[in-house]
């Protein structure tokens, strides 16, 4: 519940203050967001399974975002940035889908 409130508060703050994304962060923020979404759905699923742990969530959230951004960064350095970010998005998308499917099964038994 508090997490949901935090999420809503973050969105509201973002739209109120409309911050600009700093230039150095621009290529990596979208990927990091997708990775964070993956961590969030994973956390929700773990919560529904009754095995949620704050520490695991925090660590996986941070490591997901940082690693995703790092992969894109290295891809940019190697000249395959766009392909690598596509790959990362595909992998994270698959994980998000499987997490959401598990959440759905928990919630609706279907």
């Amino acid at each position: 519940m508090i997490a949901l409130i935090g999420l809503a508060a973050g969105v509201v703050l973002g739209f109120v203050f409309h911050p600009g994304v700093p230039l150095w962060l621009q290529p990596y923020l979208p990927i990091a967001i997708v990775a964070a979404l993956d961590a969030m759905f994973g956390g929700l699923r773990a919560r529904l399974d009754g095995v949620f742990d704050d520490k695991v969530f925090v660590v996986s959230f941070l490591s997901n975002t940082i690693i995703a951004a790092l992969i894109v960064f290295f891809g940019d350095q190697l000249g395959v940035g766009s392909q690598l970010s596509t790959g990362v998005v595909v992998v994270l998308g698959i994980r998000i889908f499987s997490n959401v499917a598990a959440i759905r099964r928990k919630l609706f038994q279907a």
Binding site: A9, G14, P19, G43, D49, V51, F57
Partner: protein
Amino acid sequence: MSEQSERTGAPEASSAEGEPVGEGSGERGAPEVSSGEGGPVGEGSGERGAPESPTGGGENPGAAGRKGLLRPRLNRGQLIVAVLCAVLGFAVAAQVRSNDKDTKFATARQDELVGILGDLSQRSDRLRSDIRDLDATKSGLEHDAQGQAALEDARRRATTYGILAGTLPATGPGIELTINDPQGRVRAASLLDTLEELRDAGAEVVQVGDVRVGVSTYFTDPSGGGGVMADGHLLTPPYRFLAIGDPHTLATAMNIPGGVLRTLHNSGADGVVAQREKITVQAVRSP
């Protein structure tokens, strides 16, 4: 049927009573999971679901978890989670806004930008040369009072259209294609294929035998055999095509594997292509 109703019935009953049994020990007092160790912790952030322990007593852990999800509980871990979620929401909002603001160029990569720039400069070059041509035409038209330049221009255009329509003779580089047909196997369709291949390869003016080819040229097989009718004239072997265009391109197009010459060869005829510096097409179509 009965089993299912039993399963769904049990949590509802407990919620009607008040607190579900498993979670009932208070809302903020007892931290359910201590952040240190202990507590059933799945691998990752629950990427693998923990094995769902089937409990017989009607306490569905999923249902209990669902109810606990919406209950505010304050402890440090929960706060950190909330802060992280807030950061995520903030980042999403910022990203969405910045995407709204500058749709294309700010987020494009370097090679994409270079490609866009190249396209644009190419296009502006083309437009600039168009401007130059039109300016030249305009100044030419303005400077002669008798309409000499306009007349000249119109005449030039008439010549071009006449050549394209087939009403004027033409000369230029091109190829001469001779199809020998000793066994009389070549039909109208083969000649039509040949003509289409020549047109595809960029032939501007084509003559078959004595017939100038135009947009409405047709080939038919005469009822008695022995040749092909083109626009009502009887052509007899060897068939001779004169085509004006880039000689090398035309010759290559004729000789490609599986192309016209190969097909003709398979049907028993054979064609010879000769590239010429100068081809003169004398036959004309009546307008």
